[in-house]
């Protein structure tokens, strides 16, 4: 099983080879989103002439967006190797993985995990910078413990994101082009996950709909953990839901894989 270490190392090497991409991805995904959210909410707070909206102060709101951007980055794992499954199928690169004596989906997940590691490094850098510049909100429950718990939560919900992504990417066994499905999936994740707007601001029916999907688990769940806004009971309840979705999607992904690989024609070779 030494290949796991090697695949992770390989993915890290690949990511770190292109250092401009590394910093642009970092600044683009996290820094830009954070700045936009900060100035937008600052304007809202000033217009309303209030210091709290829905229980969030401007500073807490800033941290909410900081953690949602970072969580999204960690959970998605940079969409490196795992993001290329449909391309692998489309251009025949899957052939390589069918030849090697290792589980294809396992290989891709290890690559995804390595990318998550890079996301954590980026989170720590940006967190250090932001907390030094703007400090912590007075009502904050953010601590080293919540930071670690948030990172751990983002790491394991990353597996759920990976499974969802894999199931969609594998549609490429039957349909050549799946980028539109992936775009829809990303948008839905961002919206129902609470990256655009905290779920607390959703109407009741919106929250109910979101609750029946895996999306709040992908962003809202780790962000609440980072902010220390989740009780142990709520955390465990979400964890149980996570386990349920993972079991379902693991079976689904295996079912799709078994059927899909029979369709594979290795074109492009």
């Amino acid at each position: 099983m030494k290949w796991i270490k090697m695949v992770a190392a390989m993915e890290l090497k690949k990511s770190l080879t292109y250092r401009v991409h590394f910093w642009v991805q970092f600044v683009g995904h996290v820094g830009a989103e954070l700045l936009v959210a900060y100035f937008l909410w600052k304007a809202v707070f000033e217009t309303r002439n209030t210091t709290s909206i829905g229980g969030f102060s401007l500073l807490t709101m800033t941290y909410y967006y900081l953690f949602s951007a970072c969580s999204l980055r960690i959970v998605r794992g940079g969409e490196g190797e795992a993001g290329y499954i449909s391309t692998d199928i489309y251009d025949g690169s899957l052939t390589r993985y069918l030849l090697y004596p290792l589980p294809f989906l396992g290989f891709k997940y290890v690559a995804h995990l390595a990318q998550q590691g890079i996301g954590i490094l980026q989170l720590l850098l940006v967190f250090l910078f932001v907390s030094t510049v703007i400090g912590f909100p007075n009502e904050s429950s953010i601590s080293l413990f919540t930071l670690m718990a948030g990172i751990a939560t983002s790491l394991f919900v990353g597996y759920l994101y990976y499974l969802l992504q894999v199931c969609i990417e594998m549609v490429a066994f039957w349909q050549d082009v799946v980028w539109n499905l992936m775009a829809m999936f990303r948008m839905t994740t961002i919206f129902f996950g609470g990256a655009v707007l905290p779920l607390a601001f959703f109407p009741d029916w919106g929250r109910t709909v979101a609750h029946f999907t895996p999306f709040p688990l992908l962003i809202s769940y780790p962000v609440k953990t980072f902010l220390g806004q989740i009780t142990l009971f709520e955390w465990l309840e979400s964890f149980a839901l996570f386990i349920g979705w993972v079991l379902f999607l693991t079976l689904l992904s295996r079912w799709i894989w078994t059927r899909g690989v029979k369709q594979y024609s290795g074109v492009g070779i």
Binding site: W3, K5, M6, M10, R96, L98, L99, P101, L102, I269
Partner: protein, 326 residues
């Protein structure tokens, strides 16, 4: 080592009319048709045997290799490679085979070859001493030691192909499938790769199936050849007998002492003139009548030299691709 019985593969492909109109129509309705890439083929390959698989583009060569390496599932038929059904892709099976495709990079584009090889060492669970020994020997034989730390995408086609070969052979596979390994390479690189494959085959005695459009590859490496046309095997036997089996003629070339005015003529029943100029002529002669035709030429012309040759194998095989001689 390789046992194939009635193996058939049919692809379902959608047809689209050319042009914008066709594209719009295809949005609502698609026509599908079946293409039989492989038609019930049966053959065996023993350990240490190198088989050349030749055929025109689209004849089914790559499909056969993909089936035998477990990438594709067949429509019907069976195959056993080292006792395993290839498309079940057991790890034990995959640890003992290699597929090298000249037209497709299998190594990781953004990594140097050295890193790719280390990863493969772990994937194939190659013991450190065997890995080092194989790597040293392969890199030396293929003369690529100085390129080991260059990203794969920055290598020339020849260098990349050599790295692909090393990657595929590091684990010393018992069955090797080579799909056009010399495609696009210059003459020297082709020769180097051919020599390398020949040496490897001699040393490790794998069952090896090679496809190539270059007859030099086939002539150099394979004693046995399988000719495939539109998914059917039309010949499976020694390379040396292809010409004998598929041509009834030999080529007789005569050189004259003095230039000839006019042209040569053989009695019709002996053969026909292929080409002639003032001092040299070539005749296509039925192999049964070679002695008779030679004797006639020696008696009736001032011959300074006479040679009898088989028709060039490349020409024969090219004709077979096109459907003749039958």
């Amino acid at each position: 080592m390789i046992e194939v019985q009635d193996l058939t593969k049919t692809f379902r492909i959608h047809k689209k009319e050319a042009g914008l109109k066709g594209s719009i129509r295809a949005l609502f309705h698609r026509e599908w048709h079946s293409v039989e890439a492989l038609k019930s083929v049966t053959f065996n390959v023993k350990a240490g045997e190198t088989v050349g698989l030749v055929g025109a583009n689209g004849a089914g060569k790559t499909t056969l290799l993909k089936l035998l390496s477990g990438i594709l599932h067949p429509t019907s038929g069976s195959a056993k490679v080292l006792g395993h059904t290839p498309w079940e892709r057991s790890n034990q099976f995959r640890r003992q085979i290699a597929l090298i495709m000249g037209q497709k990079a299998q190594l990781w584009w953004d990594l140097p070859a050295a890193d790719c090889f280390l990863l493969l060492k772990e994937i194939y669970e190659i013991p450190q001493n065997q890995y080092q020994e194989s790597l040293d020997s392969l890199t030396q034989l293929l003369d690529v030691r100085n390129q080991m730390n260059t990203q794969i995408r920055r290598l020339s086609l020849g260098e990349r192909m050599k790295m692909e070969l090393i990657a595929a052979l590091l684990h010393r596979p018992r069955v090797v499938f080579l799909d056009e390994p010399t495609i696009g390479l210059d003459v020297n690189a082709q020769r180097a790769l051919r020599d390398f494959i020949a040496n490897y085959s001699l040393q490790w005695k794998p069952a090896l199936i090679l496809t190539s459009h270059y007859m030099e590859d086939i002539k150099h490496l394979c004693r046995r050849v399988v000719i495939i046309r539109e998914g059917d095997f039309i010949y499976d036997g020694p390379l040396s007998k292809v010409v004998h089996q598929f041509t009834r003629h030999k080529v007789v070339t005569v050189a004259l002492d003095a230039p000839l005015n006019g042209s040569y003529a053989l009695p019709k029943h002996l053969g026909e003139v292929l080409s002639c100029d003032a001092t040299l002529a070539r005749f296509k002669v039925d192999r049964e009548r070679i002695a008779e035709a030679s004797s006639w030429l020696l008696q009736n012309c001032q011959v300074s030299d006479l040679s009898i040759e088989e028709e060039d194998i490349s020409t024969v095989i090219s004709k077979l691709f096109l459907g003749s001689p039958s």
